[in-house]
């Protein structure tokens, strides 16, 4: 209805009424800019930020990875190219391989646990009554909202060797049970944050704790979009809950799971803050992942920014490879045209 007057105004371009009045004579009182230019003008500030502060640094990172950038270069001396030297050193350094291993193993374990717990809690939220479900959502929000730095500090405190609540709880378990499970029953003064392996156990728990709520709420949102009749039909046909999940829920939520998996992989691959705090800074080299390794190379004395950039390039390549699938999924399901 509103279109009729637009058509009259535009003088016969009914197919594109409000899309910037394209093809029509520019309105009399247009504020200076031709219609065609308006969207580009609106995009300028955003594009400048994205180009100048995201794409240009990305390019700079690649350039720096082929250069020797030390203290003198930070002070302004032009950097000179060293070819592939940074990458060569990287491949030869043992630290790179332990960091890569830590990064990958941590990401795989954490993503799997996060998705599993998140999906189970999402299903649970879907089945609960309204009151109970709201109660639980508010609860898991608390974990989700906690800033990363606070998450790391809190778990550091929970796993404190002397007064940590975890060591108390492990001691409180019946001795026989504790021995059966862990082969020991006395946990007094157990230092969790000295050794790389136990640091990663704490890190996995902390990161899963902070990230399962997002998965749960997303899965819940997906479940709510599935029509109830499908489930009723399946139940009338006598399908078990297990079968219903694999035959109905999972196939329908596949795109959701795909996106959630990719997002989790990306987040867990580059985890920095929590590890930095749990490992107590950059002194424990055994506990490095790629982010922490790059940071240490670039920012501890003497700064080796080129090396750091090379590590960052490796990390980014891995992530962009994974991102590719994410973007393809979004482009498939979302209208970006």
């Amino acid at each position: 209805m509103a279109n009729t007057s637009t058509i009259a105004r535009d003088g016969g371009s009914p197919s594109v009424p409000a899309r910037g009045h394209r093809g029509a004579t520019p309105p009399r009182r247009s504020s200076g800019l031709p219609v065609r230019v308006v969207p580009y003008a609106l995009l300028v500030p955003g594009l400048i930020v994205i180009a100048g502060l995201l794409l240009y640094p990305l390019f700079q990172m690649v350039v720096m990875s082929f250069q020797n950038v030390g203290l003198r270069q930070i002070r302004g001396v032009p950097a000179e190219s060293v070819g592939l030297e940074n990458y060569q050193k990287l491949v030869e350094s043992e630290l790179f391989w332990t960091s890569l291993r830590n990064t990958v193993v941590f990401a795989v374990v954490t993503v799997a646990l996060t998705l599993l717990l998140g999906t189970l809690v999402g299903l649970l939220l879907h089945k609960l009554g309204k009151k109970m479900s709201t109660f639980l959502i508010v609860g898991i929000m608390a974990a989700w909202a906690t800033p990363q730095i606070a998450t790391a500090i809190i778990w550091r405190w929970l796993f404190d060797a002397e007064s940590g609540v975890i060591n108390w709880a492990l001691n409180a378990l019946p001795d026989w049970f504790s021995s059966l499970l862990f082969g020991r029953s006395d946990w007094t003064g157990e230092p969790w944050l000295n050794d790389a392996f136990t640091i990663y156990i704490v890190l996995i728990i902390a990161v899963v704790w902070a990230s399962f709520p997002f998965i749960a709420v997303s899965v819940l949102a997906g479940l709510k979009s599935i029509s109830k009749e499908l489930y009723e039909a399946a139940r009338v046909d006598g399908a078990s809950a297990w079968r219903i999940f694999w035959k109905i829920t999972f196939p329908l939520l596949k795109p959701v799971f795909a996106v959630l998996t990719v997002l989790s992989v990306i987040w867990d691959f580059k985890v920095f803050t929590q590890l930095f705090v749990l490992a107590g800074g950059t002194s424990n080299r055994e506990a490095f992942n790629l982010s922490l390794f790059a940071f240490t190379q670039a920012f501890s004395a003497p700064p080796k920014m080129g090396m750091g950039a090379a590590i960052a390039v490796v990390l980014t390549l891995i992530l962009l490879f994974i991102t590719f699938f994410y973007v393809r999924q979004i482009v498939k399901t979302e209208d970006v045209r």
Binding site: A2, T6, A18, R22, V38, P39, L43, P45, G46, L53, L54, P57, Q60, M64, V69, L128, M132, F135, G139, M141, A142, A143, A145, T146, P147, Q148, I149, I153, I154, W157, L158, E162, S163, F214, V217, A221, G222, S225, I226, L253, V256, A258, V259, L260, L263, I266, F269, K270, F272, F276, S291, F295, A298, A309, A312, T316, L319, T323, Y326, V331
Partner: protein, 293 residues
């Protein structure tokens, strides 16, 4: 539905259902405890006396609560300055990020949601990709750029970087809000003789405002929590933001758990409150349409 006329199976079914409900509710309570306990423990430690903190016993809540630690982080301070200083720095950075980001993202979101133009799809895909580039990887070149621009140690440098980090997602999220406003309203205003700017400001803006608030809160939280850039782009303790000050506190006075937890609580509570306000929009923004089924 109720073809089971007889009592037997129905009673059985009800009993099974009730048992199932008990199981579900128990599971819900367990998950709730797992999620909430660490946060609760932070808050309760902040109000416990030192004797109750440094014990190998389990003291579920502060039996004689004290404000000693809270007072200490305000007076003695955290990393050389009172915690007020760091809360202020963090607020400046977060609000600066939000203000610049809101203007930029609203302009871009309007362009994407209201106009069809050459390069639109490419721009949207670009947004998706840059969202995924890890900030940690850009740390090194951005550090060099910020130094060269003379913004090292300045909150402005941090604001600029935070705008860049939050902008792609903000545009992505905001465009759905803009698209949700019926075009007919703007057309009507346009026909009534309003200028392009007036149409935007008087018609579109008020309707998009709630979405802009949600997006801004998201950017606020991100900037408020940001750690890595604040750690590398700020060297002077007086310009530390909350996260960096906290981490400094932990590394310097690792045994003052009362003070550390008091400071952590002060940083965390505003975020949790904000978060509860916008969580639903965040989910839909992040999962971006994949949920539509």
């Amino acid at each position: 539905m109720t073809t089971y006329g007889r009592r037997g199976p129905r009673g059985d079914l009800q009993r099974r259902k009730r048992l199932g409900n008990i199981g579900l509710n128990t599971a819900a309570v367990l998950v709730f405890l797992f999620a909430v306990f660490p946060v609760y423990w932070m808050v309760s430690t902040a109000f416990k006396s030192s004797e109750q903190i440094f014990t190998t016993d389990f003291i579920p809540f502060p039996t004689d609560p004290t404000l000693e630690h809270v007072r200490r982080v305000f007076t003695e301070g955290v990393a050389g300055h009172s915690i007020w200083r760091y809360l202020l720095n963090s607020s400046i950075v977060a609000l600066g990020t939000v203000l610049i980001g809101a203007v930029f993202s609203l302009l871009a979101a309007t362009a994407v949601a209201r106009f069809r133009f050459r390069g639109r799809t490419s721009f949207l895909i670009l947004l998706l990709i840059v969202q995924m580039v890890p900030g940690e990887a850009l740390l090194i070149p951005l550090f060099m750029m910020v130094r060269r621009a003379g913004l090292y140690d300045q909150l402005l440098g941090l604001i600029v970087v935070n705008v860049a980090m939050t902008l792609p997602f903000a545009i992505w999220m905001l465009r759905t809000f803009v698209a949700a406003v019926p075009k007919e309203l703007e057309e009507a205003a346009w026909i009534d003789g309003a200028s392009r700017f007036a149409t935007f400001w008087r018609v579109l803006f008020p309707l998009v405002a709630p979405g802009l608030v949600a997006t801004s809160i998201f950017s606020f939280i991100t900037a408020w929590n940001e750690f890595v850039f604040a750690l590398t782009l700020i060297g002077d303790q007086g310009s530390y933001t909350m996260p960096v000050a906290l981490r400094y506190f932990v590394s310097q006075r690792s045994v003052d758990w009362g003070g550390i937890m008091a400071a952590s609580t002060l940083m965390t509570i505003p975020v949790i409150v904000f978060f509860l306000l916008v969580q639903r929009r965040m989910v839909s923004g992040l999962v971006a349409g994949a949920v539509k089924g």
